[in-house]
Amino acid sequence: MEEYAREPCPWRIVDDCGGAFTMGAIGGGIFQAIKGFRNSPVGVNHRLRGSLTAIKTRAPQLGGSFAVWGGLFSMIDCSMVRMRGKEDPWNSITSGALTGAILAARNGPVAMVGSAAMGGILLALIEGAGILLTRFASTQFPNGPQLSEDPSQLQPPLFSNYQQYQ
């Protein structure tokens, strides 16, 4: 089902980058709020000010690093789709590995390999979860049509009435 009138890929990069930034900023905000609250002197005013300061300084940093990860991952993913011409889970895993490697480039080749392994494994887990979810979601609708006969396009090849199945 083509729900999208345009090609998803180039626009997906911006989409993923923004989504990752939001996740990082909100998660970081909550985390830093609690941390700032606890690390402040006694008194509710002090604590609230401390947590607000922590949010203002740290949450954008976390959001920024998430956004970099998400944007780079999506860029490499779209490039691989364009190069291979096929949409596969392999694209995601390789993109995760390359993203991890590029983001650790400052720390030398050994760190790049380790970071690439971590990125690849993380993406493999996410892809596995995605596959599980889609399989479970599709088996929930048991209305499979009768499949005992071959589709009519094969025998008399110009038969136009053909029932679409899922």
Partner: protein, 238 residues
């Protein structure tokens, strides 16, 4: 209060385990056995008792330092005190710690189980020859090398499956069914060529071969979305 504390207080102890440090290296008999329990955070509730102990123990500090050898003897004293402290751990504490360890162990097991399950799913999807993704890949390769397809769609052919919410199109729609005791699978995916607007739907059916255990192709055909509708049969092994 801060002025009474000696300067030799290690900075790393911070505010956490000051009670235990005092117990270990000074006269812990001053406080009595159960006054300051082993878990350090409760020290915060008993500052008066510890202050008394601190002042009394620091009163003997000068004499103690002159009498003891630097370094070694203090270490022996700490270890001795620590050992003595351990025997005071009651059975209730041990049960609580065992319970906590057990909970952590269960959590770790669950985590490993879930991770292992996800890895198994992804390996089966990518590497097993009977996964829909593999069959889709093989069918796409056959489409790409078929001259009629190339003439209709152009040189570089893209393949994709169903679009999910985010716009990624990785899921290939497939159905498995059993007919005459053999497993069959039908797939459907879409191809698109460089020539604009030309889209096609590829239908693949594979049948399980009992001797080799792998799936072999029964038919592959492509529905081209032109007017009039055109069907290109790539392979027909029925």
């Amino acid at each position: 209060m801060p002025g009474v504390l000696p300067r030799t207080l290690p900075a790393s102890l911070g505010r956490g385990c000051l009670g235990r440090w005092l117990l270990a290296t000074r006269g812990w008999a001053l406080l009595g056995a159960g006054a300051v329990p082993c878990s350090c955070p409760r020290w915060r509730l008993r500052p008066p008792l510890l202050l008394r102990a601190a002042r009394q123990s620091f009163g003997t500090q000068a004499g103690g330092l002159k009498a003891a050898k630097p370094g070694g003897d203090n270490k022996d004293v700490s270890v001795h005190r620590a050992l003595n402290e351990e025997t005071l751990v009651s059975a209730a504490q041990k049960v609580k710690e065992a319970g906590r360890d057990f909970t952590y162990f269960i959590v770790v097991l669950v985590g490993i189980g879930v991770t292992g399950g996800l890895f198994y799913v992804i390996f089966k999807e990518l590497f097993s020859s009977s996964s829909p993704n593999k069959i889709y890949g093989d069918a796409l390769e056959k489409c790409r090398s078929h001259p009629e397809i190339i003439s209709v769609f152009g040189d570089s052919i893209k393949g994709y499956g169903e679009a999910t919410r985010r716009g990624r199109r990785q899921h290939v729609s497939h159905i498995e069914y059993i007919k005459d005791g053999l497993k069959h699978m039908r797939l459907k995916f879409y191809i698109e060529g460089t020539e604009s607007g030309k889209q096609g739907t590829v239908h693949v059916e594979v049948k399980e071969n009992l001797e080799t255990g792998r799936f072999e192709v029964r038919y592959i055909f492509v529905d081209v979305e032109t007017y009039p509708r055109r069907t290109i049969v790539i392979e027909d092994n029925r």
